[in-house]
C-alpha cells in the first residue's frame, strides 16, 4: 500500500476550557463548555469528555441551553454563525448564519430572540427563523443597547427576562423590555480610599428586583429600586481584596456566589449577607461561576484552564482540567521517557504531565511545595528548567524567585521515580546551586543508569556536574536517609566566559559546553578539556547527533547560522551551514537523526539531516501566531512511509505549541485517515459510570473490536445487510423483562437456520411502523442500557448467521405465537 506523503498540520488538543462560562444541563449530568473551535460535552460525574461538537470554523464564543428545549444547545462563534446542537448525541441540528463575528450571546426564556454582542459595542437582538432547513440565515436584527462591555459577564437578564442589566466602566444600565425604557446609574470616579470603582460583572436576582454588581476594588453592590431614576438604593458587601471577576445567583435566589483572584468561592446568603460560606484554595483565580438550573451543582472556571464542579453543600466533587497555560513556558516542552507524556510548566510551581494520545492532563507534580498566595504583584517561585534522564528515572528541576531587593533564590531539585506510587518523589534539594541563573541542564544519556550525571550551566560562568553519591559509607556512618543523594562532582569554567548551553553525546562519553562563541568538549570520565571549536557569533543552542550521525555536533548561532562540526576530523563541516534569517528555535529528535528548525518571523519549519545541507522538509506559515516551543515525541508504533519527504515522521512526531496554547502536530494523510477510522470505532457512551462491571465489559468490547478488525472482510459483508442488523437490534434493544424466554429465542434461531427464504421484496410500511415503535420504547432505556445491548449484539452477530428481512418478520410472528409447547419439547 503506497502512502502519499502529504504532510499537513493538524490541531491535536490543548485548547482553552475557561474562555467562556460553561453550562450545566438540566439534569446536572453534563457540562458543556466552549473549547477552541468546538464545544466539549463533559460528564459531571466521571470528568470524561463525551462528545466534541465540531463544526464551527472560528473560535466558539458562547454556549447556551436552548430555553425552549433543554436537550438542545446553542453555540456562537467568531465565524458569524449560531449553531443548534443535540448534545446527548452530538448532532448538529441547525446552523444560523448571522454574518457578523459574535463575541458573546445571551438568551432568556421569555424572548424568542437571542441577543448577540456584535461589533461596535452593540447588543443586538436576533430573531432566529423557525424553518426546518439545516442552514438558515437570520436577517432580522435590532439593536437593543449600545456601548456595552465586551466582557460577557457584564450583561445579565433579570427576573426571567423582564429587563436586561449591563455594566460598562462606571455605569450601570438597566433596560426594561416592556416599557422600552432604560435607566442609567453612575458611580463616582473614585472613593475616599483610592478604591477602584469600575464595574466588572453583573448578576440579577431571578425572583427579586435586585441586581448584584462586582467591582474592581473587590466590593459587591446590591442595587434595588432601580426602576426609578432617583430613588434607587444600593448596599455594599466587601470581602474580596481584588476585583470580583464573577457573580452568580442560585436559581431560587437564596444565595449569591462570588469569586475573584483569591481563588476562594464565597456563598453569600441573600438578605442575610453577614453569613457566608467559603471554599478556599481552589487552585487558581476564578474566572466564571455558573450554577446548574436545578441548583444542585456549582461550577467555577479557573484561570489555569480548569473547571471545578462543586456540590451545593460547598464541596468539590469533580475537576475537569485542560492543558494548563502558565504565564510563560520557561521549561520548554519535554517528553517524559517513561509515560510518553508531554511535560511543561503548569500551574504556578508545578510541572504538568499531559498525555498527547488522550489529550488529557495526567497529573500535576508539585515542584515548589509551598502555599501559593493568590495576590497579584507577588514574586513567586517559578519552575524555570527541567530535565529528564534517558530512562525517566530521574527528573531535575530548577526553581527560582527573583526579587527586586534581595538576591536571586535558586533551588535545584532532583526527583526519583517511585515505582509504587508511579510518581516522582523528591530526592535531593540543593539550595543555591549556582550564584546566578541556570542557563541549561542536561543528563548524561547512557543506558546504564549506574553513573547518572547531571550538568548544569549558569550565568555565573561555571558549569557544575552533579553525581548521585553511592551509599558507600553506610558501613561507617549511619545516614539519616539510606537512599543516595546528589553531590557536586566537578566545577568547570573556561576563561570566565558565560556558558549558554550544554549537551551530552549519545553514548555519554563527551560533554559539549558552549561558552559564548567557544564550544568546549570535555570528557566526563576525567573532566579534561579534550578540544574546543571557535565560531565568532555566540552559540545559542547545542546538540549532538544521534545514531548514525553521532559524530556530528550541531549548534545554532546568534547570527542565524546552523553549524555542524565533525568530531572525528575535528573540523567545522562547512557544507551544512546554511544562512537562515532568524533561527529562533531548534529542536532535536532523540530517536531519529533529524533536526527541525522554527523560524519565528516566517513561521516556517525546516527539517534537516545533520549529514546533508539540504532540508528534508520545509513548510512556511504553519499556523497563525508565533510558535514558541516544539518537541519530537516518539511514536508508539512506527509508520511505514516510503516517501522521502515524510520519512522523518516515521518514528516520531513533531508537536508544537502556539500562543493560544493549542497543540499542533504534523501528520501524513494516511495516518489521519487511520486515526479518523479508529475514532469512529471508539464512540462509546462514556456517560456510563466507571463501575467494575463497566470495566469488565469495556475490556470485552475492545477485544471484540480487535477481533472484528482482524477479519474486516467478514464484517464488511455483514454491514452490507442493514435490514437484518436492524431487526436484530430491535430484538435486542427490547428490554429484558419484555423479551420472551431464552428458549423462545433459541428455537427462533434454529428455525431461521432451517428455513432459507430469499424473499427480497418486503413490506415497507410494516417496517416503518415497527421502527417507530422501536424508537418509542427504546428512547428512555437507550442511555442507561446502551453499552450492554451493543455488546450482546456484537456477540450474537459474530456467531449467528445473517437474518434476512423475511426471517425477521417470521421472527416477530413467532414471538407473538404461543410456543410454550416447543419449550417443553426442547426441555425434554
Amino acid at each position: 500500500m503506497v502512502e502519499h506523503g502529504d504532510i499537513r498540520v493538524v490541531h491535536c488538543g490543548g485548547s482553552k476550557l475557561n474562555f467562556r462560562d460553561p453550562v450545566i444541563t438540566h439534569d446536572s449530568r453534563f457540562l458543556l463548555c466552549a473549547s477552541g473551535e468546538a464545544v466539549k460535552v463533559f460528564s459531571t460525574s466521571t470528568e470524561e469528555c463525551i462528545h466534541e461538537l465540531r463544526g464551527h470554523t472560528g473560535l466558539v464564543t458562547g454556549v447556551l441551553l436552548r430555553p425552549s428545549n433543554h436537550l438542545q444547545v446553542y453555540s456562537s462563534s467568531l465565524d458569524g454563525t449560531v449553531r443548534l446542537w443535540d448534545f446527548t448525541d452530538g448532532i448538529l441540528i441547525k446552523t444560523c448564519v448571522i454574518g457578523y463575528p459574535i463575541y458573546s450571546f445571551y438568551a432568556s426564556a421569555k424572548h424568542e430572540n437571542i441577543f448577540v454582542f456584535a461589533e461596535r459595542f452593540q447588543l443586538v437582538a436576533v430573531h432566529l427563523p423557525q424553518s426546518g432547513d439545516q442552514l438558515v440565515e437570520a436577517r432580522e436584527l435590532s439593536a437593543v443597547l449600545s456601548g456595552v462591555n465586551p466582557n460577557p459577564a457584564a450583561i445579565a437578564f433579570g427576573r426571567g427576562g423582564e429587563f436586561i442589566a449591563s455594566v460598562n466602566d462606571l455605569q450601570l444600565e438597566v433596560y426594561f423590555f416592556k416599557k422600552q425604557k432604560s435607566y442609567r446609574f453612575f458611580l463616582k470616579e473614585d472613593n475616599k480610599k483610592g478604591g477602584w470603582n469600575t464595574f466588572t460583572c453583573v448578576a440579577c436576582h431571578p425572583k427579586d428586583d435586585c441586581i448584584a454588581t462586582g467591582h474592581e476594588d473587590g466590593k459587591i453592590r446590591l442595587w434595588r429600586n432601580f426602576n426609578h431614576k432617583k430613588e434607587y438604593t444600593y448596599s455594599t458587601l466587601h470581602w474580596h481584596h481584588s476585583a470580583v471577576s464573577s457573580l452568580c445567583f442560585t436559581p431560587e435566589g437564596t444565595n449569591l456566589l462570588s469569586g475573584g483572584v483569591e481563588s476562594v468561592l464565597i456563598q453569600w446568603r441573600y438578605k442575610q449577607e453577614s453569613e457566608r460560606d467559603f471554599l478556599p484554595r481552589l487552585g487558581a483565580a476564578i474566572t466564571h461561576i455558573t450554577v446548574s438550573p436545578d441548583g444542585s451543582l456549582f461550577c467555577t472556571s479557573h484561570s489555569d484552564n480548569k473547571i471545578t464542579i462543586i456540590q451545593s453543600c460547598v464541596k468539590v466533587s469533580a475537576v475537569i482540567q485542560g492543558l494548563v497555560k502558565g504565564d510563560s513556558i520557561r521549561t520548554d516542552l519535554m517528553m517524559d521517557p517513561r509515560s510518553k507524556a508531554l511535560v511543561l510548566n503548569g500551574k504556578p510551581g508545578h510541572l504538568q504531565f499531559y498525555s498527547l494520545q488522550r489529550d488529557k492532563l495526567l497529573y500535576n507534580l508539585d515542584i515548589v511545595q509551598q502555599e501559593y498566595i493568590h495576590e497579584s504583584g507577588l514574586q513567586q517561585f517559578e519552575v524555570v528548567k527541567a530535565a529528564f534522564d534517558a530512562s525517566g528515572l530521574w527528573l531535575a528541576t530548577v526553581e527560582e524567585r527573583h526579587q527586586k531587593a534581595a538576591e536571586l533564590e535558586l533551588n535545584l531539585k532532583l526527583w526519583a521515580f517511585d515505582e509504587q506510587t508511579q510518581s516522582f518523589v523528591l530526592n535531593t534539594t540543593i539550595s543555591a546551586p549556582h550564584d546566578a541563573q541556570i542557563t541549561a541542564m542536561s543528563f548524561r544519556q547512557t543506558a546504564d543508569s549506574q553513573t547518572t550525571l547531571l550538568v548544569s550551566t549558569s550565568k555565573d560562568g561555571h558549569f557544575k556536574a552533579w553525581q548521585l553519591a553511592a551509599p558507600a559509607h553506610t558501613e561507617d556512618y549511619i545516614q539519616s536517609v539510606n537512599c543516595p543523594s546528589w553531590l557536586c562532582d566537578f566545577v568547570g569554567a573556561y576563561h570566565g566566559l558565560v556558558p549558554e548551553c550544554c549537551s551530552f553525546s549519545a553514548d555519554g562519553s563527551l560533554l559539549a559546553v558552549a561558552f559564548q562563541e567557544v564550544v568546549t568538549v570535555w570528557s566526563p570520565a576525567t573532566w579534561e578539556l579534550t578540544f574546543f571549536f571557535f565560531s565568532p557569533p555566540s552559540i545559542s543552542d547545542l546538540c549532538f547527533g544521534r545514531l548514525s550521525c553521532s559524530k556530528y555536533l550541531l549548534g545554532t548561532t546568534a547570527s542565524n547560522l546552523l553549524c555542524c562540526w565533525n568530531l572525528l576530523t575535528c573540523s567545522c563541516k562547512t557544507s551544512p551551514c546554511i544562512k537562515v534569517l532568524s533561527t529562533q528555535n531548534f529542536f532535536c529528535d532523540s530517536l531519529n537523526r533529524f533536526i527541525s528548525l522554527f523560524l519565528s518571523f516566517l513561521l516556517s519549519v525546516f527539517v534537516f539531516k545533520p549529514s546533508e545541507p539540504r532540508p528534508l522538509f520545509s513548510r512556511k506559515a504553519v499556523c497563525s501566531g508565533k510558535v514558541t516551543q516544539a518537541v519530537f515525541a516518539p511514536r508508539e508504533e512506527m509508520l511505514e512511509s516510503c516517501e522521502e519527504s515524510s520519512q522523518w515522521l516515521n518514528r516520531s512526531q513533531l508537536y508544537f505549541l502556539t500562543q493560544q496554547m493549542d497543540l499542533m502536530t504534523f501528520t501524513t494523510k494516511a495516518e489521519e485517515d487511520r486515526l479518523l477510522a479508529s475514532s469512529k470505532q471508539l464512540v462509546i457512551d462514556d456517560s456510563v459510570a466507571m463501575t467494575p462491571f463497566y470495566l469488565l465489559l469495556g475490556k470485552h468490547r475492545q477485544q471484540q473490536q480487535e477481533h472484528r478488525d482482524s477479519d474486516s472482510s467478514l464484517w464488511a459483508e455483514r454491514t452490507a445487510l442493514p435490514q437484518t442488523s436492524a431487526s436484530i437490534k430491535e430484538l435486542l434493544q427490547t428490554p429484558a423483562h419484555v423479551l420472551p424466554s431464552t428458549s423462545y429465542l433459541c428455537s427462533m434461531f434454529v428455525q431461521s437456520l432451517l428455513i432459507s427464504v430469499s424473499d427480497a421484496r418486503s413490506a415497507h410500511a410494516e417496517e416503518e411502523m415497527e421502527s417507530e415503535k422501536e424508537e418509542e420504547d427504546s428512547e428512555e432505556e437507550m442511555e442507561s442500557s446502551r453499552s450492554k445491548p451493543e455488546l450482546v449484539a456484537a456477540a450474537t452477530e459474530s456467531d449467528a448467521p445473517a437474518l434476512t428481512k423475511a426471517q425477521a418478520r417470521e421472527l416477530r410472528r413467532v414471538r407473538k405465537l404461543d410456543h410454550s409447547w416447543l419449550a417443553g419439547l426442547l426441555d425434554s
Binding site: E371, F381, W565
Partner: protein, 511 residues
C-alpha cells in the same frame, strides 16, 4: 480543593561530627558519677575478677570502689606520703602500691595492714606491678632503677639500672613471666627479660614517657609521652608503627577497650580520645572538666573511670539494655495510649459499610496562623523562646515565608519594647550565620526602617542595636580577611598548576 501546604522548614546539613557507630557506642553511657578524692587521682586499676572493683590511688590513700557503689568499699590509708600506682594481682587477692617514701607496700585486699614492705629504692616509687606468675613484683622508681622482688620473702631479685631518668610507667607481660616493659623520662621505652642481665629492646619515644600499654596479643606496644602516642611493633624488634598527635597537651594515660578494637588516650588537655586500632583515626572524643591524670575501662566497657588533677573521680556507667526496655515498658503501660488507639486498629469486615471521617491534618501553630493570614501572630509564635534558641531554622523559615508573601514588614511592625528586643536578640544570635544571612539582612533593613523613629527611647533597644552594628562591622572585616587569604591561595595554586596543551581546531571558516 487543595489543602494548606505547611511552611517548608529548610533542613541544613549538620555541621560538626557525624553520627557514627562509635559515637553511638560511646554516647551510650549514663551521666557521670563524680566523687571528690583527697588529692589528684594518679592511678586507677580494675580488679581482674568479678565484681571488678577498682582501686583509685589519690594522695595518701587507695580507695577500692565496687562497680555500683559511690562509697569506697575499702580504703588503705597506711601510707606515710603520697601513694602511687595501686595495682591488683591477676587473682584480685593482692594489691601493690608504691609511695613517695620509696617503700613499696603489698596489701591483702580484705586486710588493712600491709602484708609485706619492700624497701630498697631510694626515691619515690611510681611504678609497681605483679608479674604473670604472681610471685614477683616489678617496681620502678625515681632513682632511675627498676627492680624485681620476690613476694614470699620480700627480697630483691634483680636491679636494672639502664634508664637515665625517672621511671614513671611500666607494664608486665601477661603471657610471659619474665618480660616487662618500662617507660622513663629519658625518652626511652625498654623491654627487659628477667632471664638476662639487661634490656632486650630499646625504643626511643622522643618525649618523657608517661604511660605504656601492651596489646592483649603482646605483639604491639603503645607508649604515650609529650603530645605523642606511638605504637611499636615488638615482633619486629621495636619498629615504630604509627605516631599519633591528636592532643595538644601531654598524654598521661592509655587504655584499651575490652575487645581491643579501640584505643583510648587521656591527656592534660582535658580530652579523652578514642582511636580505631585498625586505621588509628580518632573516632570519638570525650570532654572533661579538668586535666586528666588517669583513665581506666572496666571489662566489657561497662564503665569509664577518669581521675583528674582537681581530685575528682568521674565514673560513667554504660546504659544497659534492660534499663531502656524498662522505660519502654512503662510507656506501654500508660493508659492514654490505649485511649488514642481505641477502635483505630479495627479491620472492617467484608460486608461492612465504611463511613470515613475526614482526617484532620495537623498543622504547627505558626502554620495555622499563616493559613489565616495572621502574620504578626505567626512571627510571634516563631519567636517563642524555645523555638528561637533550639530551632532557629523554624524561625528562619517563617520569616522567609512572610517575606515571600510580601507581608514581612507588616509582621515586624507594631511591636513593643519586649517584642522588639526579642527580635533583635534573634538577629544578633543568627545574623552572621551564613545560612541565615541573606534573609536576615532584609529583615534587619526593614526593622531599621520601621523603628528608626524610636531610637533613643529605650536603652535596651539602643544597646542591642549597637551590638548589632558592632557585629556587622566585625563580620565585614572578617570577610575581607578571608577574601585576602583566598586571593593569596589562588595565586599559589595558579603558579603550581602544570600547563597543559589543549588541541585547538576548527577555527570557524564558516562561509
Amino acid at each position: 480543593m487543595a489543602s494548606f501546604k505547611p511552611t517548608k522548614i529548610q533542613v541544613y546539613p549538620k555541621l560538626g561530627e557525624k553520627v557514627t557507630q562509635d559515637t553511638l557506642y560511646w554516647k551510650n553511657y549514663k551521666a557521670p558519677v563524680q566523687i571528690k578524692e583527697f588529692g589528684a587521682v594518679t592511678s586507677i586499676d580494675f580488679s581482674p575478677v568479678t565484681p571488678h572493683n577498682f582501686a583509685v590511688t589519690a594522695f595518701t590513700r587507695i580507695h577500692i570502689y565496687g562497680p555500683f557503689s559511690q562509697e569506697p568499699v575499702k580504703s588503705f590509708t597506711r601510707f606515710k606520703d603520697t601513694a602511687y600506682c595501686g595495682r591488683f594481682r591477676s587473682d584480685g587477692q593482692l594489691l601493690v602500691a608504691g609511695c613517695e617514701d620509696s617503700v613499696v607496700r603489698l596489701f591483702d585486699v580484705s586486710g588493712k595492714v600491709a602484708l609485706r614492705l619492700f624497701k630498697g629504692h631510694t626515691k619515690a616509687v611510681h611504678l609497681t606491678d605483679f608479674t604473670s606468675d604472681r610471685y614477683q613484683i616489678l617496681t620502678g622508681s625515681d632513682d632511675y632503677t627498676c627492680r624485681l622482688w620476690d613476694i614470699p620473702n620480700a627480697t630483691e631479685l634483680t636491679t636494672y639500672r639502664e634508664h637515665t631518668d625517672y621511671i614513671r610507667c611500666g607494664v608486665t607481660s601477661k603471657l610471659n613471666r619474665d618480660l616487662f616493659i618500662t617507660g622513663s623520662y629519658d625518652h626511652t621505652v625498654k623491654l627487659f627479660d628477667a632471664r638476662v642481665e639487661k634490656s632486650v629492646i630499646t625504643m626511643d619515644h622522643g618525649q618523657p614517657v608517661e604511660s605504656v600499654l601492651l596489646y592483649p596479643s603482646e605483639g604491639l606496644l603503645v607508649s604515650a609521652g609529650g603530645r605523642h602516642v606511638k605504637v611499636w611493633d615488638l615482633l619486629k624488634g621495636g619498629q615504630p608503627l604509627v605516631s599519633l598527635k591528636n592532643h595538644h597537651k601531654t598524654v598521661t594515660s592509655l587504655a584499651l577497650s575490652s575487645n581491643g578494637q579501640r584505643l583510648l588516650s587521656a591527656s592534660l588537655d582535658r580530652h579523652v580520645k578514642v582511636y580505631s586500632t585498625t586505621n588509628y583515626k580518632v573516632v570519638h572524643n570525650f570532654d572533661y572538666a579538668a586535666s586528666i591524670l588517669s583513665l581506666a575501662l572496666a571489662p566489657d566497657d561497662e564503665s569509664i573511670v577518669v581521675g583528674m588533677t582537681n581530685s575528682i573521680l568521674s565514673i560513667k556507667h554504660r546504659k544497659n539494655q534492660e534499663d531502656s526496655k524498662e522505660i519502654a515498658g512503662q510507656q506501654r503501660r500508660r493508659p492514654s495510649y490505649r485511649v488514642f488507639v481505641k477502635g483505630k486498629n479495627y479491620v472492617p469486615k467484608q460486608d461492612d459499610y465504611l463511613v470515613s471521617k475526614p482526617v484532620k491534618e495537623h498543622l504547627a501553630k505558626y502554620d495555622k496562623q499563616l493559613r489565616r493570614f495572621n502574620v504578626s501572630k505567626a512571627l510571634d509564635t516563631a519567636l517563642e523562646t524555645w523555638i528561637r534558641f533550639r530551632k532557629p531554622e523554624i524561625t528562619m523559615a517563617v520569616i522567609k515565608e512572610l517575606d515571600r508573601r510580601g507581608t514581612l514588614k507588616n509582621a515586624l511592625a507594631g511591636r513593643d519594647e519586649r517584642g522588639l528586643s526579642q527580635l533583635l536578640n534573634f538577629l544578633i544570635g543568627n545574623f552572621v550565620d551564613a545560612r541565615f544571612t541573606p534573609v536576615l539582612v532584609t529583615a534587619a533593613e526593614m526593622i531599621l526602617d520601621i523603628y528608626q523613629s524610636i531610637i533613643g527611647q529605650s536603652p535596651l533597644v539602643d544597646r542591642q542595636l549597637l551590638r548589632l552594628q558592632d557585629l556587622v562591622e566585625k563580620e565585614l572585616d572578617y570577610q575581607k580577611e578571608l577574601l585576602e587569604v583566598l586571593g593569596m591561595l589562588d595565586t599559589m595554586f595558579a603558579s603550581s598548576l602544570p600547563r597543559k596543551e589543549v588541541p585547538c581546531s576548527g577555527i570557524g571558516k564558516l562561509e
